[in-house]
């Protein structure tokens, strides 16, 4: 038994395909001519040594700091444009000695944690619900997309009139700000889960919350952790907005202070603190990824 094939469509003549079409596609080892055998060009990915990987990873930040240090020490960058590392470290020492640094970090950390917990938690639930069922998608998605388009900073005046300028206002603002990216990425991740696997799980009688917990959320975990990264960075923006008003401590408050007193060393210090928080967030999430997704990193394309 053979498959039907129009007799008028002959095989492409070898030289026709070979000489006009193919060289661009199989370029690396085709140049020596067809007659010679070659060692196959390496197309697989290389395993990199951890030390090399670490050096490359740290290379760019280290270079940036070195350029900063050199630029300010040589006088190429005036101090009122960008203060040197020495002055910034001095400001850091000053803050640390008075105990303010710890207080500020703790106050901001508490607000961010509560806000992210509530906001990202809600975003996660809504994202899973919308990704999982057509009804959920119809109910939730249009509203969330509209909500996502509203800059959370536009909600500040309204929230102040509702909640005052106290802690509630700050936590609600961060919660609202972080719910949006969590929702969007979770939704995307849940939609991206292999539908055949979901079908199979449904066939084994898994429904609703059990299906979500056993199959959907673990499979969508890469997206969800990406969403957590973004939610955490958004919470830092939220902190600046929230701590500008009615706050006497917090890293957002520190930004306001630096601006009011025009202290370049504090301005740069704030940026450094944010950068370090970003680094810590990254390390923590990487750790969580390793724990929560042990199957990754063992994946070979075979």
């Amino acid at each position: 038994m053979t498959l039907e094939r129009p007799p008028a469509a002959p095989a492409p003549a070898p030289e026709e395909v070979a000489t006009t079409d193919v060289p661009a596609a199989s370029a690396p080892d085709a140049e020596a001519g067809d007659g010679e055998l070659r060692v196959p060009a390496r197309i697989g990915t290389r395993r990199r040594r951890p030390a090399v990987s670490l050096a490359v990873r740290t290379g760019v930040p280290v270079l940036l700091v070195a350029a900063w240090w050199y630029g300010t020490a040589s006088g190429g960058i005036p101090p009122d444009v960008l203060t040197g590392p020495g002055a910034v470290l001095g400001a850091l020492r000053e803050l640390a000695e008075t105990g303010q640094l710890t207080d500020y970090l703790l106050a901001s950390g508490r607000r961010a944690a509560l806000g992210v917990l509530a906001g990202a938690g809600a975003g996660l639930l809504l994202g899973v619900a919308a990704g999982l069922s057509a009804l959920g998608e119809e109910l939730i998605d249009p509203t969330m997309q509209m909500k996502r388009a509203v800059p959370f900073l536009a909600l500040v005046p309204l929230f102040i009139s509702w909640f005052g300028v106290g802690e509630t206002f700050k936590i609600v603002l961060i919660a609202v700000a972080t719910a949006a990216p969590m929702y969007a990425y979770t939704y995307l991740g849940v939609r991206g889960v292999d539908r055949k696997v979901v079908e199979a799980a449904r066939g084994f009688g898994l429904r609703g919350a059990r299906l979500a917990l056993a199959v959907i959320v673990p499979s969508a975990l890469p997206s969800i952790l990406m969403a957590l990264r973004i939610s955490l960075s958004v919470s830092l923006t939220g902190l600046i907005a929230a701590e500008q008003i009615g706050a006497s401590e917090g890293i957002g408050y520190l930004v306001t202070l630096a601006q009011q007193y025009y202290r370049n060393d504090y301005m740069v210090l704030c940026i450094l603190i944010y950068a370090l928080i970003g680094l810590v967030i990254d390390l923590v999430i990487r750790g969580v990824e390793r724990l929560a997704m042990p199957w990754r990193g063992q994946v070979a394309a075979r």
Partner: protein, 240 residues
């Protein structure tokens, strides 16, 4: 111009403590259809990946003619591109006609603008075959290309591959665990076991081959015993 399309000499490959290839020597001539059998996990696919350039050997040399293409167990089509774009993936626009001809050769004329998700498993695998053929390979690497197909489609695909290989005459390395498939298609069948070839022989029977030919049954029994399956097993339907 050498008569040999694939040459492996003293090839070793380990993954951690597990040695999967322990000194492999192999030559495949141009136009020869070579089938490699072996229980799963014995390094058949690793050997193919070495030829594709996806792995490098720990020791020994791997040489192959430069134009090689692979058909995998799954079609591995880019879902976001239409069938013809998948066939001519990475080729210049001028190869679109060659792509159409390749699709016609695998019996999929008229499906150029279909999306991969709308194809059946057998159709998708035929697209993968067209994608390999349009590159006019000197070496065609087949990694259990029929394993995921239903029995009927598998027979059709085997006939199609046999016919296309007879016409285009690439050197073929077929990795499979199906003894009948190997005997149906190949000029030469080898068994990989414990990192080396336990058997490597020409089939030496005319085509098309009758499954019930006693000579073929003898070969099947011999190969199965190399694979650790006892001759009395139900896999050989002997009407005693």
């Amino acid at each position: 111009m050498s008569d040999v399309a694939v040459r492996l000499a003293g090839v070793r490959k380990s993954f951690g403590p597990k040695t999967v290839l322990a000194g492999i020597d192999l030559e495949v001539r141009r136009g020869e259809f070579f089938a490699l059998l072996g229980p799963s996990g014995t390094g058949k696919t690793t050997l193919l990946r070495l030829l594709a350039g996806l792995e490098v050997p720990d020791a020994g040399t791997v040489l192959a003619a430069p134009r090689r293409t692979t058909v995998y167990q799954e079609p591995r089509l880019v879902q976001a591109r239409r069938v013809l774009a998948n066939v001519t993936l990475g080729l210049p626009r001028s190869s679109r006609d060659a792509g159409r001809r390749a699709l016609a050769e695998v019996g999929l004329a008229g499906h150029e603008r279909a999306w991969p998700a709308t194809l059946s498993g057998g159709e998708a695998q035929r697209v993968a075959l067209a994608r390999a053929l349009v590159r006019d390979p000197q070496v065609l690497l087949l990694d259990e290309p029929f394993a995921a197909l239903d029995a009927l489609t598998r027979l059709q695909m085997q006939d199609l591959v046999a016919e296309l290989c007879a016409r285009h005459r690439p050197a073929v390395v077929l990795v499979t665990h199906d003894v009948d498939e190997a005997l149906r298609l190949a000029d030469r069948v080898a068994v990989l076991r414990g990192g080396t070839f336990a058997d490597d022989r020409e089939v030496g029977l005319p085509r098309p081959r009758d499954r019930d030919d006693p000579a073929l049954a003898d070969r099947r029994r011999a190969l199965l015993s190399h694979l650790g399956v006892e001759p009395a097993s139900a896999l050989t339907p002997d009407p005693h």
